[in-house]
Symmetry: D2
Subunit: 301 residues, 4 copies
């Protein structure tokens, strides 16, 4: 499987009690597939994976994979601190029928590049699934260097990378350096045309929850070589992306960004409740109003 | 319960296959209690909590709490990324009979001081156990400020703090600012006499696994006002602590530090196997040899 | 003056004694202008500005501005910790005839966004020269946010930004948000086609010292809409850029990167001596050999 | 010269126009010497060295050294980004009659431990003065490790260290590891009794500008073994130190801390004007009022 195209990290709708709202989750999956996306990525950062209990993670996996029924591949985040804990999540994801795993470098511990290699190698060896590295220094406080990624690609450990580092120079080094098939996916919502231009295979946009059609149009414009159209679509989406800052300094970046995505999905009628998990700060009425204005300006409301 | 004294974070011995070696764990608990410690802290960073699966964490809790049988309190780390996941660990710890919980600020997510307050308040409200804040910026990339700790102490949310930040100025601000009973425990192995001198209530020393008698002597010397003896003992222990650097730049800090503690416990005959969990780098023969020399120099071999 | 095009940060050749080698500096300026660049930027990070004494900085300014004689604009870095010290450098640069100033946020001190605004406003008000913000978080440990830059652009404080943050999402936010003329220049050597595609006005490439013709070709290809040619040229330059890693973990990043640029300029016969300033680590023979191979592969030797 | 005792980093009073107020500076020096301090340290971080132009730095050196006339040693900060620039400051300080130099690791550049060694060795070799390492990671973003310091001490490069890292574990490692005479001075205002207890030789307290008598009493209490009295004095000073937070989130840490020291000196009648240099944010009336209350509570007003 060589992944490409638009692969949104699926938000996890919650009930007012904080449990997974499976009805809304199914509607969201349909909304995304209906928007033309190429695969789904559940249990990523935009899915609030860091906030979901193991039982909730399992519910998400079974709900989405069961509902999708093979229409598109479903990648699963196996996000935890170290190898043994990641392996536990990986086993659950494999049993649920995930098409591939998304795995970060170890975090919380003080690690080392050699240990990061051991980590990915062990996860790949002990699961039968393609492993995608998740490069997310803002969360794990380690940047996956191009050399490390290219070595792990060449030896067959990694099937690809989801690069949410914002470092497009590093992204290009991986694109230019790869020899075996290796999916390079950008996680930066606002430079997708540029990443595709450089040779990236696809995008994993959190904002794609809100506007999957936009990212699909952008990808398809680029794929058929109409870069002007791709750029115009990207610029529209970049203006919409401003919603992630709506909470400002009043809250953490996760609360603001994920709160905005969920508020937008709620305003668009796709999910029943915009709640984010504890201990995130909820958006207030004014902030939700500003999300609504951005949606309206983007033609989505 | 107002905790004081020596409360070692109990290492988790593993079998060669990477499972919890309960026989060695029981021996280690006996070694610590025999050394005179005042309480045990399982599932802390020195326990490799970041590497233990949920099943292994449960095994540790049940093994130690069951074996100790109330001789001393047993604190349990409930270490995970956010509130819902911490609550899951807290429930398991409570069911196993833990005397209190040790909880860090959220990590992996981009958080905010207001959200950290919500986090501790929620954990305290939903469990019936005393909650100790675990200030560990090297792992969670957030420093718990004195104001935040003192507010949460005054309102009764927190029962104490384990300060592993290395910032003794901040430690003193908490000591001088507290009004209600609030246990201040240092996690810095090499400045214990100084912390006690400032008014700290106790110490949570990873190195206490290797030499509990030393830390107990240090604490008791200080408690009866013989500061010269306390300092001499601390200086002996500070020299022993050099073992944590034995792996140097060849590996991550966790591998070197926890590897050294386990190598020392193995050399002293307390645990059967010095293995650390994946993806940590094992110490080589030379490095183990240097641990042995430091043990010998400290009169422990 | 609205700056655009290729504006290399001019390396500062040194004699074996560590003084500015003005003959080599003049040759380098001719090499760059002969390569077709649109302006020069002296006393930037790639110029080793952090290593040059005030007297050496003055020599560089007078040598280059005097030699260039108005053929192209010459920007001058006024790089120091805070406003009063930056103003001193700015006065020297203005007296020497610089066309504009390049200024970072304060560093060494613990600063605040409001203070960064005061800093740029004061420098702009007290000098008669256009001020370009230099966004270089790797050196000054502060990221200039899009909001701050756009505010300072709208009020006329800043004439542009040199973005060396590597954050192309932030770069795009500035491009999309600017209303007044405001030069957006990327400092990332390997994503220039992408930055121009997004609407950036130009590039300030350290590697442009070594191969100005390449960056000029890339810029002109893009300017006339031949993006395929621009990308091909950028990819050639991206492979050449690998030279900056030649020193590996044996030395600091400045030593390796600036050492490689100077080794390449020496191998190409443009400067007499490849020495970098103290306390940088010199490249060894093997490392210089690898620079030579990259030059040969790029058709430059 | 083996330095010990209380060595305050002398604040630099400014006129309303931002120039060095030499009359106030002389009064401040007299206030400190009258308070019993053992030496003065000019051009440190608390002296706003980062904000002073070269001419102002020279004025400070000549004013203080000239006025003090050898009553106590005067150390001079030679604070700049790299070796050549530090050497320039060092020459001025030597010519002015400084007794020793205080030097940080390189900053702004991306450096390496080997290059930090070269830096200190070069400065020591090319000046005839004792060199004290200034360990200030909050400003220079590099921590000076105990191994590096001990090596440079053993070879005679360094005469001592001013440790403002807040890492008392590292401080102790240097104290226990030193063999040759090597002055260990803490820069942490609120753990001085603890540092002296561990074997430190003295303290460089910014707050010592405001209350030199307090730090001198603390040091002398400790020196004659009356640790209870030393602790009581330290606790009084720790409460006074709260003034550094008076500006809160409204400004940067330098503005708040240095603004508070200067406001206190102004309220106490020692300096004529509490201005801090640009681009720092001035304290407002309410904030100055709170500084006054802390002074009153400490018996200083």
């Amino acid at each position: 499987m060589s992944l490409s195209g638009v692969i949104p990290p699926v938000c996890t709708p919650l009930t007012p009690e904080g449990e997974v709202d499976t009805a809304s989750l199914v509607r969201l999956a349909d909304h995304l597939i209906g928007g033309g996306v190429d695969a789904l990525f559940v249990l990523g950062s935009s899915s609030e994976v860091a906030y979901l209990t193991d039982a909730q993670r399992r519910t998400v996996l079974e709900t989405v994979i069961g509902h999708v029924g093979g229409q598109v591949p479903v990648l699963a985040g196996a996000i935890d601190m170290t190898t043994p804990r990641v392996l536990d999540h990986a086993r659950v994801a494999a049993a649920a029928g995930a098409s591939g795993l998304v795995v970060t470098a170890p975090f919380y511990t003080r690690t080392h590049p050699g240990e990061i290699r051991t980590h990915f190698r062990t996860v790949a060896a002990r699961t039968g699934l393609p492993v995608y590295a998740y490069d997310l220094p803002v969360s794990v406080h380690t940047k996956l260097g191009a050399d490390l990624l290219l070595d792990l690609a060449a030896e067959g450990t990694l099937a690809g990378v989801k690069d949410s580092s914002g470092d497009d120079g590093g992204l290009r080094a991986v694109i230019l350096g790869r020899e075996a098939p290796f999916s390079v996916l950008t996680g930066s919502e606002v430079t997708v045309d540029a990443a595709l231009w450089m040779g990236a295979d696809g995008v994993v946009p959190g904002l794609g929850n809100v506007d999957p059609h936009g990212y699909v149009k952008l990808y398809r414009d680029a794929a058929r070589g109409d870069w002007q159209a791709a750029r115009a679509e990207q610029e529209r989406l970049a203006r919409l992306f401003a919603m992630v800052h709506v909470g400002g300094a009043r809250m953490g970046g996760s609360s603001s960004g994920l709160g905005a995505f969920k508020a937008a999905l709620h305003l668009r009628g796709i999910i029943d409740c915009p709640l984010t998990a504890l201990p995130q700060t909820p958006l207030n009425e004014d902030e939700v109003g500003r999300v609504g204005k951005l949606l309206a300006a983007a033609g989505l409301l």
